[in-house]
Symmetry: C2
Subunit: 129 residues, 2 copies
Amino acid sequence: MRVQNHTQVPSNDVTMEGAAGCRVRWLIGEGDKAPNFAMREFEVAPGGHTPKHFHDYEHEVFVLAGKGIVIDGDKERPLAQGDIVFVAPNDVHQFRNTGSEPMRFLCLIPNSATGRAVTVVPECGLESS
Amino acid sequence: MRVQNHTQVPSNDVTMEGAAGCRVRWLIGEGDKAPNFAMREFEVAPGGHTPKHFHDYEHEVFVLAGKGIVIDGDKERPLAQGDIVFVAPNDVHQFRNTGSEPMRFLCLIPNSATGRAVTVVPECGLESS
């Protein structure tokens, strides 16, 4: 058994194309020999976002703090603390912080996601500044 | 994609042998056709606990609120908001609320846990009152 506070887990910039102001902690995963899935925590700065993208595996998300939206294909859906999001395989999705505080959420993925293709969707002018 | 607040998900008593003051919400799971793992939220009342037990699948836990301990075999380890717990397969474990507010935590399990054996460990007098 491993017990640790999330703040003790190293936080790293998300360098993937399309991400901005986004950091990630791998809370539970390979280092634990977790057999089936991994728990990550994302922290998105005000105005920041994850890439708009899709892939053939799912996300299971729990919003810990902050306010924002999740892009669901061509729709925007509001997000606040305590919201859950099930992103099904191949759903186009993006998390955006529209508030004034960091937005933090857990995002779990299956181990089988490792090495699988991720397709970034262009954002029609949103990134032109 | 499904977006919902966790409070909108029905909460049910945990009726398993060895549980006390314990409720569960299945936040993401079968109803979503989640392909690999399920997200549950447990709420344990002050003085309450989950069963002391073990099984051959893992838990990935994130403490959302409250204070307590996790029994790790024959040790007690303190728990507070923001703590993560990786319960490896066959670890004997139990979550106990030792605070004055509800303790809430996410606990994720693989889909392959369905129907697998769970062994409850007797608690030597703790339940005698």
